[in-house]
């Protein structure tokens, strides 16, 4: 056994050396042959021949060095490697084929490019979703702190109490901060009014992100004081688009929901911490504190302290959770705090092997699509190879083996695939993020670390797809065409002929490939069209109407008892018309309508139903029935939802109080 293993190892070593150092091995063989002939010539001179005669005689006796080299390479097991080696000549021939068959090159290349683009885009998304990383200094140490309510099987986001408690208690997480995203009407002097998502965020966020402002300053702890003047930090993109990249933007005043805010800083390009934000205002919480489960919804974040591990932070937070459960069993008995890497906080569940496997499985359809496309390209290649039978026969006659010809056709497909891969990757690099944004819709925000940029692993994956596709599109038809080539040579010599594809068949194949490749594009286009026609944009002249964003309120406190819908009233669909927004942070949970909140509107007026009040069936009592279409906000919220919103006329000045009232 040992001798056998040693023999295998010796063969592998010799083969590897012959493959890796082909030129060096060839040079050594030439040097050895030359020495042999010199030594033989010296012997012949000693035998009485002249040096010239001896050298000639030695060369004649030795024979052809090239033949000996070939035999030696075969003896080393390198002849099969030689057959599979793609030479520069093969590449040039492949490029020549692209020019000679332009229709095949265009149709096959575009098909190939689309398939590789789909595969690469899927892989890139899988990589970014399954292995997210924050593109921030030390981003792997930034964590999110959240809580899970085991009783309701939902995340608990009213964490103002925990925020205050943990900020003073946690040792493994430093610079603990919180944020919430709120919609605000933005008025830039001289510009259009717009509804923008503003991150009300702790000043520590900018310490956690460790990114300095490009202009001015980031938020500071003093900005969080209730008596501090309202300030705003803006992102690079909005600085460029809404402020014309004004270098003197710091100090300018904008209005958010009518309140003046001073711009104090501009963050650098690409900065969108914590999620995809471009407007940051200081988070100001009540100085009197909050009870557990009370206060605004918050997302918490921080940075692992030096030397602290994620496991240590989890253990410490679990201990704090147990303490809170003991101190507040009514509100915190079932709440389990947890720490996750911030980049993974976009997932409700911890990002484990199961989710990663699920994401990876999403690549399978892309690979199958590649196989489908390459199968069609293989038909084209087969048709082209069939028309080149004469050339292949001549190459066979000249000594080319079947493996060599298959390698040549594979190289031609590889050239086509290489060009297509460049096109496909360029398309993915330029269009993946816009595509994702378009697919997500304007109301969804995408985490800034899901940027759709091509990573080196994706380029390698695309290269592997290219080789695989070239094997399908090149090797399979090559094996078919070269089967029985010698017999067809004899038939051709006798006046017969091999398989031929006429123009009609070629056109049919080209059309089939075009339809196969074009179908997904057509399907996508149709889906986009149908989405558009279902949207208001297709049927409503948006420039003449109000636009609005609506969001369901949850009850502000779970301690409020009036969350159960009452039978027979307030259970129908929401009001069908409205004219404004309810006050910011209204405490109008439960079954109250905005009007019943009895709070004045800060933006426009609260709405009222214009539809005649009709008696409606009793509201669903169970969660299951609620899911069947009743517009309840949740089983714990009212049957008559409480709307918050912002309304404005696009492209016009901000609404005046007279208009709203």
């Amino acid at each position: 056994v040992t001798a056998g293993l040693a023999g295998v190892a010796a063969r592998a070593r010799s083969l590897w050396r012959g493959v890796r150092r082909r030129a060096a091995v060839e040079a050594e063989m030439a040097e050895e042959f030359e020495l042999h002939q010199e030594l033989r010539a010296a012997d012949l001179v000693r035998a009485g021949l002249t040096p010239a005669q001896a050298a000639r005689q030695a060369r004649l006796e030795f024979g052809s060095s090239e033949m000996h080299k070939d035999a030696a390479r075969e003896a080393r097991g390198l002849h099969r490697v030689d057959q599979l080696r793609v030479s520069w000549l093969d590449v040039r021939l492949g490029l020549r084929m692209l020019r000679r068959y332009p229709a095949l090159s265009v149709v096959g290349g575009l098909a190939f490019a689309l398939a590789i683009a789909v595969g690469a885009a899927g892989f890139e998304m899988m990589t970014q979703l399954a292995y997210p990383t924050l593109p921030l200094p030390g981003g792997e140490r930034i964590v999110a702190l959240r809580a899970w309510d085991a009783a309701t099987a939902r995340g608990e986001r009213r964490l103002a109490y925990e925020f205050a408690t943990w900020r003073g208690a946690l040792r493994t997480v430093e610079a603990l901060g919180a944020y919430r995203t709120v919609g605000r009407n933005l008025v830039v002097p001289g510009g259009a009014v717009a509804s923008v998502p503003v991150a009300e965020i702790s000043a520590s966020a900018f310490r956690v992100a460790a990114v300095p402002a490009r202009l001015g300053r980031a938020l500071g702890p003093a900005d969080e004081r209730p008596d501090a003047s309202p300030v705003l930090v803006i992102g690079h993109d909005v600085w460029r688009t809404r402020f014309g990249a004004d270098p003197g933007v710091v100090g300018r005043t904008v209005r958010l929901d009518g309140a003046p805010h001073t711009v104090v800083g501009v963050m650098p390009e690409g900065f969108a911490f914590p999620l995809s934000h471009a407007w940051w205002a200081p988070l100001r919480l009540s100085a009197s504190g909050y009870a557990p489960g009370d206060g605004p919804t918050l997302e918490l974040f921080g940075r692992l302290a030096p030397g602290a591990t994620l496991g240590a932070a989890r253990a410490e937070l679990a201990a704090l959770g147990r303490r809170a459960a003991a101190e507040h069993p009514d509100a915190r008995a079932h709440v389990r705090p947890e720490v996750v890497p911030f980049a993974e906080s976009i997932y409700t569940k911890p990002l484990g092997l199961a989710i990663r496997a699920e994401l990876a499985a999403a690549n399978v359809p892309a690979v199958l699509f590649l196989v489908l496309v390459c199968g069609n390209v293989a038909m084209l290649t087969f048709a082209r190879a069939a028309t080149r039978e004469g050339e292949l026969v001549v190459r066979t006659v000249l000594g080319a083996s079947r493996g060599r010809i298959v390698t040549q056709l594979f190289a031609e497909a590889l050239v086509l695939g290489g060009v297509a891969a460049v096109l496909g990757l360029a398309a993915v690099g330029a269009g993946l993020r816009p595509f994702l944004l378009a697919a997500a819709g304007p109301s969804d925000r995408m985490a800034f670390w899901i940027d759709g940029r091509l990573s080196p692993p994706t380029v390698l994956y695309a290269a592997a797809l290219t080789v695989f596709g070239a094997a399908v599109a090149g090797v399979v038809p090559a094996l078919k065409v070269t089967r029985g080539l010698t017999a067809r040579l004899r038939a051709a010599s006798a006046g017969g002929g091999g398989p031929r594809f006429g123009g009609v068949w070629t056109a049919v194949i080209v059309c089939q490939v075009a339809v196969t490749v074009g179908f997904p594009v057509f399907a996508w286009s149709a889906w986009r069209e149908s989405t558009y026609y279902r949207s208001a944009a297709a049927t409503v002249p948006a420039g003449e109407y109000l636009t609005a964003r609506l969001a369901m309120d949850r009850p502000t406190s779970r301690r409020r008892p009036a969350t159960r819908p009452r039978p027979g009233r307030g259970s129908g669909p929401p009001a069908r018309s409205w004219r404004g927004g309810s006050p910011r942070s209204p405490r109008c949970g439960g079954s109250r309508t905005p009007r019943r909140c009895r709070s004045p509107a800060t933006r426009g007026a609260v709405w009222r139903s214009r539809a005649p009040r009709r008696r409606r069936p009793s509201p669903p009592r169970s969660r299951g029935s609620a899911r069947r279409g009743w517009p309840t906000t949740s089983s714990r919220c009212s049957a008559r939802p409480c709307w918050r919103g912002a309304a404005f006329m696009p492209g016009t000045s901000p609404p005046t109080p007279a208009w709203w009232s």
Binding site: A3, A6, G7, A9, A10, R11, S14, L15, E28, M29, E31, E32, F33, L35, H36, E38, L39, R40, A42, E61, F62, G63, S64, M67, H68, A71, A72, E74, A75, R76, G77
Partner: protein
């Protein structure tokens, strides 16, 4: 009738055995292997020069001999071959097999009609 003094051709498969035997006697370059085989066969075996090197590379590929570069007597860089442990084992096996075959063939050829009756 063949001339007893003229070189004879090799039987298939015997070149590897002869090369292993030659390099077992000392480190040799390719040309010296050729001369050593002719020497130890009393000039009876003639090796085609073109067949020598593929056989050498095949044995090296199989790990039976090991080639290393050194300096020749005339101060030229030359590749010298030596027998490996695996090659020594193979030589012993092949030699024993060859002797049994030769004895069997000699015995067969020495048979007389009286012996087979």
């Amino acid at each position: 009738m063949a001339d007893p003094a003229s070189p004879v051709g090799l039987l298939p498969g015997t070149l590897d055995l002869l090369i292993l035997k030659a390099v077992s006697l000392g480190r040799l370059n390719g040309y010296a292997v050729l001369l050593r085989i002719e020497q130890i066969s009393g000039g009876a075996l003639h090796i085609q020069q073109g067949a020598l090197y593929p056989a050498l590379y095949r044995l090296e590929h199989q790990g039976l001999i090991d080639g290393e570069w050194g300096t020749s007597e005339n101060n030229r860089r030359a590749k010298y071959y030596r027998l490996t442990a695996a090659g020594r084992r193979r030589l012993g096996e092949e030699a024993a097999g060859w002797r049994r075959l030769a004895d069997a063939i000699a015995l067969a050829l020495a048979a007389t009609p009286q012996e087979v009756r």
